[in-house]
Amino acid sequence: MKFNRNVLPNKEEKKGLFKKIHLSNNIGDFVFERLTLLFAVSVFLLVLLMGYEMYQSSKLSIDKFGLSFLSGSTWDPVKEIFGALPIIYGTIVSSVLALAIALPLSIGVAVFLAELAPSWLEKPLSFLVELLAGIPSVVYGLWGVFVLVPWIRDYVEPYLSDKLGFLPFFNGAPYGFGLLAAVIILSVMVLPIITSITRDVLKSVPAAQREAALALGATRWQAIKIVLADSRSGILGATMLGLGRAIGETMAVTMVIGNRALISPSLFDPSYTMASVIANEFTEATSELYLSSLVELALVLFVITIIINGLARLLVWSMDRKWRRG
């Protein structure tokens, strides 16, 4: 027990003390503390084990392809050539574009919730936004397949190619299934994450900051701008958490992105992400090398999300400390 160890009157008494301690009660404490420690250690080891397991299972592919796994642009299960570049491209492009849509919206919603909404409106609205985060990914996908994709195919893509078709981004036949659908659905899915963290970050800025600005004759918006500037690192952290989520999002994306390893500037074209490749091909992978390559893809995804999440947590934490200390 922690406090027994602390209270040692002097070294000579140390031995006698431990001997005479009543065992019946302290065994309980001893065992219980060790037991919780054991679980904590297991959580710690679990993350390491995950990395190790995937490394072991992807060794075949790592040895065979080395770095060309990341730079190769052919993903051909039949010829057993696995280069993940188009997949990595699809992952990054879909996530970054989704973020580009979701971020301004999220900040707008967060500002509304934290700064503008009266409290009777804030609570139900926050609840609705959280509900958005609670919808299962596969239900988003279902909605994507039967509602969003037809809408994009029949209205959005024809409109865009008509008006902006001279740009390479809006070029091509309107399939519906493709990058555009994935981007839209992803932006809806990451919005609640960025919103709720940004709202908390904004709320953690002391009221004095706003009052000081308002007292100087600033308008509400000018005061909000100051609060937003103070919250930069927290919002950046929230954005990165959203990015991590978008990169790893599987079901909804798999169902609407079209699933073809292709590098194309057009948003209308089908694409592929790391998560959707794994979801789509894992049970079909017949050869060891194929399976090993898919596990390597999971490993790459694991490492990327760890880095992104690690950075994001550090940013959010640093924000938290800033006001707690000050």
Partner: protein, 284 residues
């Protein structure tokens, strides 16, 4: 007043414009929510009937049938996930708040945060290599373990936060009565924080119930009745995925019904927890 010149009005206009935009963003954010709910409820309800809950899926080509196996399968999967994930999460949370030495606790906390950001498909891959490969076949157990791993960070962090909210004086009161620390922690501190922890557990369970990716190649799916944890098992989410992809209209429609049932299941879960955690004592 003289000062109310151009800049004053521009400042005012920008102010109102920005407030309006912020409000518009809030509205825009809930539009997809409304859409998804509208479609899920209207399309799902159309095919919702008793046989959906009591019958097995019909073979390809036949219409009708239900998803009794998938409903039970989902419950079994979250049962396994919760059975493993909840105790691990709660014990780790207790360690972090009550015992943890500062440095190691910070490391564990960081790991839990990292774990919460790992994509669920990656967790599925790990469960595959850890359990499916050695067992040589897909199983409910592998799916349950994957769900457990996904639940652990949520339960851990909520437990820690909720236990930290219990005032120190409550712990001291227990210790001062001559109650050993482990009993004080389990029977007094944990009991005081129980409602908050239950909320975390509920959140973890309902997320687990909605997971698909980690089940695709662990629990796999099963068109037949199975409750064995050593065998592949059906789940609502995997059915939604398979049926949404299928070319049969009847299956597409059943996917909507499955989605509605899934959402109802999650809602039921939270209702159940509300009832369980409702205060035992009257309050004035």
């Amino acid at each position: 007043m003289k000062e109310k010149g151009f800049f004053y009005y521009r400042k005012k206009a920008v102010n109102y414009l920005m407030i309006f935009l912020s409000f518009a963003a809030a509205l825009a954010a809930i539009i997809p929510l409304a859409f998804i709910f509208y479609y899920t409820v209207s399309k799902g309800a159309q095919y919702l009937n008793l046989s959906f809950f009591t019958q097995m899926p019909k073979p390809v080509g036949e219409t009708g049938g239900g998803m009794a196996n998938a409903i039970v399968g989902t419950l079994i999967l979250i049962g396994i996930g919760g059975g493993i994930g909840v105790p691990v999460g709660i014990m780790t949370g207790i360690y972090l708040s009550e015992f943890g030495n500062k440095k190691f606790a910070a490391v564990v906390r960081f790991m839990a945060d990292i774990l919460s950001g790992v994509p669920s498909i990656v967790v599925g891959v790990v469960a595959y290599t850890l359990i499916v490969v050695p067992m040589k076949h897909f199983s409910a157990l592998a799916g349950g373990v994957a769900l457990a791993i996904l639940m652990i960070p949520t339960v851990t962090r909520t437990t820690e936060e909720m236990i930290k909210l219990v005032p120190q004086s409550i712990r001291e009161a227990g210790l001062a009565l001559g109650i050993p620390k482990w009993k004080t922690t389990l029977m007094i501190v944990l009991r005081t924080a129980w409602k908050g922890i239950a909320t975390g557990v509920l959140l973890g369970l309902s997320r687990a119930a909605g997971e698909t990716a980690p089940l695709l190649f662990t629990a796999l799916g099963n068109r037949f009745w199975s409750t064995s944890i050593g065998q592949p098992i059906a789940s609502l989410t995997v059915y939604i995925y398979d049926y949404a992809k299928s070319p049969f209209e009847d299956w597409n429609n059943q996917a909507w019904t499955a989605a509605l049932v899934l959402i109802l299941l999650i809602a039921l879960l939270s209702l159940l927890f509300k009832i369980i955690t409702r205060s035992k004592y009257k309050t004035n």
